[in-house]
């Protein structure tokens, strides 16, 4: 009889690992830091003034990059970009969202450091989507 190699994601052990992964993710989702992140993200999405400032920031960023790639007019657009950026950062809803995101990132990175120590390999670094550098 021919022996067939089992799909590594199909075995009982693989299913148990995926269930444990889901349980771990649920614990993250149940944490106060994740809940604050979700609430802050929702508040940011629904705040018209914050969204307006965010769009202005994105436009100024695009414009500055374009001007710089053409090799001229950088001064004025960089000045405008800095002003728009300052206005965005000062907005309380955006500030709350950024703080919540940073707090959540700290938890995620701490969790990965813990997993890395126990597993002997960097779980997140190994499984993150491939992307360009810089």
């Amino acid at each position: 009889m021919l022996k067939t190699e089992q799909n590594p994601t199909d075995s009982a052990a693989a299913r148990a690992a995926r269930e444990a992964a889901q349980t771990l993710a649920r614990k993250v989702a149940d944490s106060a830091i994740y809940k604050e992140f979700e609430a802050a993200a929702m508040a940011f999405r629904e705040d018209e003034e914050a969204q307006k400032r965010f769009r202005a920031y994105q436009n100024a960023q695009r414009e500055t990059q374009m001007m710089q790639s053409w090799g001229g007019g950088g001064g004025i657009s960089v000045y405008r970009f800095r002003r728009v950026e300052k206005e965005l950062i000062a907005h309380p809803t955006y500030k709350r969202y950024m703080t919540a995101q940073e707090d959540l990132l700290i938890v995620l990175k701490d969790l990965n450091v813990y997993l890395t120590e126990k597993l002997g390999f960097d779980f997140a670094d190994l499984t993150k989507p491939a992307g360009g550098c810089c």
């Binding site: 148990a16 269930e19 992964a21 771990l24 993710a25 649920r26 813990y114 002997g120 997140a124 989507p129």
Partner: protein, 122 residues
């Protein structure tokens, strides 16, 4: 610092991964690759040889022998049994580990690994 509930769930995840033969083989292959003295010596040699290669290239003193030596060293590392075993086991484990990351990411609403990984160095 992780809270107790998160640490317990992380421990359970680590146990479940360790019980998976594909991941266990990868862990073992990684440890034996890192503990291989011959391979470590070859790896230590590589940056020094690359530096020497660049210096000679800059001085316009690079010889065919220098090129061949560096290439041979790279091949020795690539084809070292401990390295081959590591790469093969890592590729097999990746499918399994990737599916765990996917399971976590679907629940969280963002890619767990992309956000939890250390910052990339270029």
């Amino acid at each position: 610092m992780l809270d107790t509930r998160l640490r317990e769930a992380a421990d359970e995840f680590v146990r479940a991964l360790g019980a998976n033969p594909v991941v266990a083989v990868f862990q073992e292959a990684k440890a034996s690759m890192e503990g291989d003295d011959t391979l470590s010596a070859l790896r230590d040699q590589q940056p020094r040889m690359v530096e020497q290669y660049r210096r000679k290239q800059f001085e316009d003193a690079l010889t065919q022998e220098d090129i061949s030596k560096l290439r041979a060293l790279g091949e020795q590392i690539t084809h070292h049994p401990a390295n081959l075993r590591f790469v093969e086991s890592r590729d097999k484990a990746l499918t399994m580990l990737g599916s765990c990351n996917q399971a976590m990411s679907e629940l969280l609403g963002f890619d767990f690994a992309a956000n939890a990984a250390p910052a990339a160095s270029c």
